[in-house]
């Protein structure tokens, strides 16, 4: 891609109001995930049983939870866990699913239809279900949550990438490359990959948010990241009992998840509109 084209795309994106808002929000929380642990005034897991549910004070800007842990620190450090789970799981899912879809689309024929039938079977279980099922087998924890979320992102990316691959395969330049004697692996790498990448980029952005919501739901069901890890969903779930007396305990992590996912969704939409208005 030429430099000026890139520059043009960037300016075009900035004119996209909601996309820019999304970019700003996403950046804020990304920075929080990167630097939050350094900024946290306290150890997020350190219990202090003499200062439980302290409310807002100069020592604890957002107060403390029922273990006397500093809420601000937990929220800041929580960014790394919540966003980290979203990003890692999505990248693994996109990587595996992408290779699968690319291969399936490129191979075509019998193998293609067999692998897509498998994708159908995997997609037949909606939403949280595969995650609940997998974690019921492995037991809860950080790694199972990431693996389960990644696992059921795989068929989605496989189908997406296969679709784009099929479209691109038709295009003349591939035939041209074939004519020039390039091996099929080279065709995949040089020609297919970039044209497939734009929709994947859009979908990755949107998917990170979805995975974060799924991880928080798993925490709510007691199947997610285990305490005392300050994942936002787990914090929010623990705060349920204190909604009437200490609403901040729920509002801080609840708002953090909502705004992060909102940012990612707006960013994804913006990217889609900018990169390829025809994409849906």
């Amino acid at each position: 891609m030429h430099r000026t084209v890139r520059k043009g795309l960037f300016w075009k994106f900035l004119r996209h109001k909601s996309g820019s808002l999304g970019l700003a929000l996403s950046l804020v929380f990304l920075l929080m995930a990167l630097f939050g642990p350094g900024l946290a005034p306290y150890d997020p897991s350190a219990a202090d049983y003499s200062h439980t549910l302290s409310g807002i004070s100069t020592q604890h800007w957002l107060g403390t939870d029922n273990f006397g842990r500093d809420l601000l620190s937990r929220t800041l450090v929580g960014a790394r866990y919540s966003l980290g789970i979203g990003i890692l799981a999505t990248l693994i899912g996109a990587g595996v699913g992408g290779v699968w879809g690319l291969w399936s689309g490129y191979a075509g024929g019998f193998w293609d239809s067999l692998s897509m039938r498998l994708v159908d079977v995997l997609l037949a279980f909606p939403g949280l279900l595969p995650a609940i099922g997998l974690i019921a087998i492995t037991g809860p924890g950080l790694l199972p949550v990431i693996m389960a979320s990644a696992f059921f992102s795989v068929p989605i990316f496989a189908r997406l990438v296969r679709g784009s691959t099929l479209q691109m395969k038709e295009r003349a330049y591939i035939e041209a490359a074939h004519a020039l004697g390039a091996g099929s692996r080279r065709v995949m790498r040089v020609h297919l990959l970039p044209s497939v990448l734009a929709p994947v980029l859009v979908y990755v952005t949107l998917r990170i948010g979805t995975v974060m919501l799924i991880a928080s739901s798993l925490s709510f069901l007691g199947l997610g990241v285990q305490p005392p890890t300050p994942e936002w969903g787990a914090m929010l779930s623990d705060a349920q009992l204190y909604l009437a007396t200490d609403p901040l305990l729920a509002i801080a992590p609840g708002l953090a998840i909502t705004l992060t996912v909102l940012g990612l969704n707006l960013l994804g939409d913006g990217l889609r509109d900018t990169l390829d208005p025809k994409l849906k």
């Binding site: 273990f67 037991g139 809860p140 007691g222 285990q226 009992l241």
Partner: protein, 510 residues
């Protein structure tokens, strides 16, 4: 235009009023939010406190427990047994009938117990009554049970909630379908059951005892604690089962609500696998008991609503014998650990459930035992995984310590000790998770079953408890309170020490 707005406003206000009006419940309906779902209404196939709570309002046993877990007559007016505890004779109450009109008599008693102990029915409570060899009808109101072997705790099995009698006509008519068609002789009769939602009962005018005050009793199933409490606050229910202790103070601050907290027969403990290192050394186990500050732990986990254990069974259990508590003494703990050869402590895993209470409890223990160098690794699991991890024989088990609780549903020391400390109860047979084996304790527990003399039985159990307390196969933690949140006008609903609810006298008495 303005008129239209006014009209619309009026309509909206009216709608809100109608909606609000509907939410005022009928004054003589008492609604109770239980912490889980009901599974069966057949006492013979019941093993959960929630089901037992609902069954209590519909059924009677031959005998039952009073508020202090002492035996009291229900459908039997008196009873005797022989010295070897192998024959039990009951005189039955006369003039009692079941809710379907079937008369209650010796034949009804025989029909029910024959039904429960028939292995072909595959009932969950089969083994409570499998030692019954035969049942003799001595007269229409006198019945005798003959056991195949002496069983000194048998009266407590008869008082067990699974020994509540179902109408023989219903057994005939529905068979195992009694689970959905309960017919008993209690103050309330069954109306409807919406799966996963609620069971509704109504007062039965033919009850032999004092009649119910409430006309309708509704049990709602609400597993989520925050939702349960919200339903109390919104006026949908008047009694909330298992109130999280964290919410006690905020409910108490509101004059519309009250909180009841009463001692239970439940015990929580950390079982140590006594057959493996380092827990094979009693010094290590005692050291761990010294290293835990039970008062502090109770404060954090239960907001102080519980009692530190003073014996392997809780105070209300028949046969309880108080022991000298292990005081909180870090120096002593370290000294014992050094003596045992672990001056710097060791690392151990804790197998536990992933519920909020156990998670909190685990984190506190981790911190407390960390002070003497014992590093605990918590392994919280979902119920099914937990159960398959702990019910493994010694040569297969990976379990080092288990954080768990126990409630002896018969209210007697036998069921508070035998499943937990007898060698014969090692997993997978029963719940001796510490793989504890002391021949003296085994014998005492078994001997106590060979007599019906309660004083004699209590002496056996007192000795057993003393030895167990010294051997410390557990880190003895605490007995939690049964805590309920209630609407301030509610009367007559309370917890029994075994954690079941008694709502026979429920009323909204203002």
């Amino acid at each position: 235009m303005r008129l239209a707005v006014k009209k619309a406003l009026g309509l909206a206000v009216g709608l809100v009023l109608v909606i609000a009006g509907v939410s005022l419940a009928q004054a003589d309906t008492v609604s109770i939010a239980l912490s889980g779902d009901a599974i069966t209404m057949n006492p013979a196939d019941t093993n959960g406190n929630l089901d037992f709570s609902i069954e209590r309002e519909m059924y009677n046993g031959l005998v039952g427990f009073d508020k202090d877990m002492k035996l009291m007559p229900e459908l039997a007016t008196s009873w005797t047994s022989n010295a070897q505890a192998s024959e039990f004779t009951f005189d039955l109450r006369q003039g009692v009938s079941f809710q379907d009109g079937t008369p209650f008599n010796a034949q009804a008693v025989k029909t029910y117990f024959d039904w429960v102990r028939d292995p072909a029915n595959h009932f969950k409570r089969y083994s409570l009554f499998s030692m019954i060899k035969q049942i003799d009808i001595l007269s229409p109101y006198k019945v005798r049970f003959i056991l195949s072997k002496p069983f000194g705790a048998m009266m407590f099995n008869f008082a067990h909630p699974a020994a509540r009698l179902v109408s023989p006509a219903a057994i005939q008519k529905y068979g195992v379908g009694v689970a959905q068609h309960p017919v008993g002789s209690g103050p309330f009769e069954f109306v409807s059951w919406k799966s996963g939602e609620a069971i509704t009962l109504k007062a039965w005018s033919g009850y032999w005892g004092s009649k119910a005050a409430a006309s309708t009793l509704k049990f709602l199933f609400v597993p989520n604690a925050a939702t349960r409490v919200a339903m109390l606050q919104s006026g949908e229910v008047q009694f909330v089962d298992s109130l999280p202790p964290q919410l006690i103070s905020s409910l108490k601050a509101n004059p519309n609500f009250k909180v009841s907290a009463t001692p239970s027969i439940y015990v929580r403990y950390l079982a140590l696998n006594t057959q493996t290192k380092p827990f094979d050394n009693p010094l290590v186990r005692q050291a761990m008991n010294y290293a835990v500050n039970k008062e502090e732990l109770l404060k954090v986990v239960e907001q102080g609503y519980g009692l530190p254990l003073s014996a392997p069974v809780a105070k209300q259990v028949q046969g309880y014998a108080a022991q000298t508590p292990y005081p909180y003494d870090l120096a002593k703990a370290k000294e014992l650990l050094t003596k045992a050869g672990y001056p710097n402590g060791f690392t151990a895993t804790v197998t536990m459930l992933n519920t909020t209470t156990y998670q909190t409890l685990g984190q506190v223990l981790q911190q407390m035992l960390g002070q003497v160098g014992i590093k605990l690794q918590l392994e919280p699991m979902e119920g099914g995984a937990f159960q398959s991890a702990v019910f493994q024989p010694l040569d297969k088990t990976k379990v080092q310590t288990v954080l768990i609780g126990w409630s002896p549903s018969t209210g007697d020391a036998d069921w508070g000790l035998r499943p937990l400390f007898d060698k014969a109860s090692w997993p997978p047979a029963l719940f001796n998770l510490a793989f504890y084996n002391n021949p003296r304790v085994n014998n005492l527990i078994r001997d106590a079953l060979t007599t019906a003399n309660q004083g004699q039985r209590d002496r056996f159990y007192a000795q057993a408890q003393q030895i167990i307390w010294q051997d410390a196969p557990w880190v003895f933690l605490y007995s939690p309170y049964n805590i309920a949140g209630e609407a301030s006008q509610l009367r007559g609903v309370f917890y029994m020490p075994d954690g079941t609810i008694d709502a026979q006298a429920a009323s909204l008495g203002g």
